[in-house]
């Protein structure tokens, strides 16, 4: 399975990458980690005439804190997300989710920017971006803009990125600690085997104030063309196992699940209930 012919360039600056994109228009495709794109190229499912390799854009590898946000460069590898001190501390859900992507070798090369730009409905990071209220930093010739996750993921394999734009970083609001609040997070997915794409994914954040549990964010992936938010289906409560079961049932019942010839909607809904229940349970255990 050999790819169709393509020409190739490897710019060394973001400006260079943007210029390349502008010059080659529709026939160009950006390659970052390549863990999703290369299989498609090799199988000739994608046949771009020109490949723009952005792995040399060192400025996209940085991870820093800025203006109350964790700013992660788009070229950050999944493996780095799993072990970087700032990510583990400020966005532990992201660190954990990254560790479930594919396998060890895939994680050495795959990037957060690539995963978000690819926008596979069954992928971990788009859903986590939604659950963490992340904003995507996009560069174009005119400058940079920030697009919130809820607007970034438009449809299956489709984002708000224009053909001449480059995703440069992900901005994640830092957690706010408060002496009267405890927070916890959960992340669960259901896949057939270790490292497979998930059939259903759930990420949630819980907040406890004065003994009452509320769910400010719950995101679901794998049931439709983009990840969706579903915290509205969770009413605040005690956080005990009965509450968890009820909340999970509510989320599953309310979710709009796309029928798929390979997996029935009914089955997906059952998986969703189970993943939600487990994710809420994890979040309760992590409250601190």
């Amino acid at each position: 399975m050999k790819p169709a012919r393509f020409s190739y360039e490897a710019p060394t600056t973001v400006a260079g990458a943007l210029a390349a994109l502008a010059a080659r228009g529709d026939e160009a495709k950006i390659i970052a980690g390549g863990q999703s794109l290369a299989p498609m190229l090799n199988m000739r499912l994608a046949q771009p005439g020109h490949l723009i390799d952005i792995n040399g854009l060192a400025e996209l590898e940085a991870i820093r804190v800025e203006a109350n946000h964790l700013v992660i460069g788009a070229l950050t590898r999944h493996a780095e997300l799993t072990r970087h001190g700032l990510v583990k501390e400020c966005a532990p859900m992201l660190a954990h989710a990254a560790s479930t992507i594919g396998h060890y070798a895939i994680r050495q090369r795959g990037t957060i920017g690539g995963s978000l730009a690819h926008a596979d409905p069954a992928a971990q990071l788009p859903m986590v971006a939604l659950a963490l209220d992340a904003s995507m930093e996009i560069a174009c010739a005119e400058g940079r803009r920030l697009v919130p996750a809820a607007e970034f993921f438009v449809s299956i394999f489709t984002t708000a990125l224009q053909p001449d734009e480059l995703l440069t970083a992900v901005h994640i609001p830092l957690p706010v600690s408060h002496k009267d609040r405890r927070e916890g997070w959960g992340f669960r997915l259901f896949a057939r085997r270790a490292g497979d794409f998930a059939l259903v994914l759930v990420a949630c954040r819980l907040v406890e104030t004065g003994g009452r549990i509320a769910c400010p964010r719950l995101a679901i992936g794998g049931i439709g063309p983009t990840p969706v938010r579903a915290e509205d289906a969770v009413t605040p409560g005690t956080g005990d196992s009965k509450w968890i079961a009820c909340a999970a049932g509510g989320v599953a019942a309310a979710a709009g699940i796309e029928e798929n010839e390979r997996i029935s909607g009914e089955f997906r809904r059952e998986l969703l209930a189970a993943c939600t229940k487990d994710a809420l349970g994890d979040a309760m255990e992590r409250l601190r």
Binding site: R5, Y8, G34, A38, M43, G102, H103, Y104, A105, A194
Partner: protein
């Protein structure tokens, strides 16, 4: 359809420089095998699932079927032929041999390279962690049992060697 266009690339493989002319689309796996004459890197699927083609790039394991040779200028690539520096089997290789952790041998180089890197980062793994790390390499012959035994043994020997330093 235009003529075949090749570009010059200088690869650094197992410590040696190799100058080649390849089309941008040529897979690193094919390049290593054909242009560098290193056939220890095996091709099992060409879509990144089986792991047989795994090599180290700057010490990190990657599927060479998902890399194009043109992308690798300036990177240090290690293949199975370069994993042992002194002609002796590494602890991972030796443990696989003693535990009968290979049968047809086709998936073996990918496993060796993945584990060399992974054990360096995870020196005291549990069985569950070993199995999880191994899950990116498919084997059709061994049922994985002996490979897991071998990796645990290799980890123990590496820890011992380090303790003795």
């Amino acid at each position: 359809m235009s003529e075949v266009q090749t570009v010059p690339v200088t690869l650094r493989v197992n410590g040696e420089e190799k100058r080649i002319l390849v089309e941008p689309r040529k897979l690193l796996s094919d390049t290593l095998r054909e242009d560098c004459h290193l056939t220890g890197t095996h091709v099992g699927c060409e879509h990144g699932v089986c792991g047989a083609c795994t090599v180290l790039v700057d010490g990190r394991p990657m599927r060479s079927c998902l890399l194009y040779a043109v992308q690798m200028a300036g990177r240090a690539i290690t293949t199975i032929e370069g994993v042992s520096s002194d002609g002796q089997l590494t602890p991972v290789q030796q443990a696989l041999h003693e535990a009968h952790g290979l049968q047809c041998g086709f998936c073996t180089p990918g496993i060796v390279l993945t584990m060399e890197a992974w054990l360096a980062e995870n020196p005291a793994p549990s069985e569950a962690e070993i199995r999880d790390a191994l899950s990116g390499n498919l084997c059709r012959c061994t049922g994985y049992h002996n490979i897991v035994v071998a990796i645990a043994e290799a980890a123990a020997r590496l820890r011992q060697a380090k303790a003795g330093e």
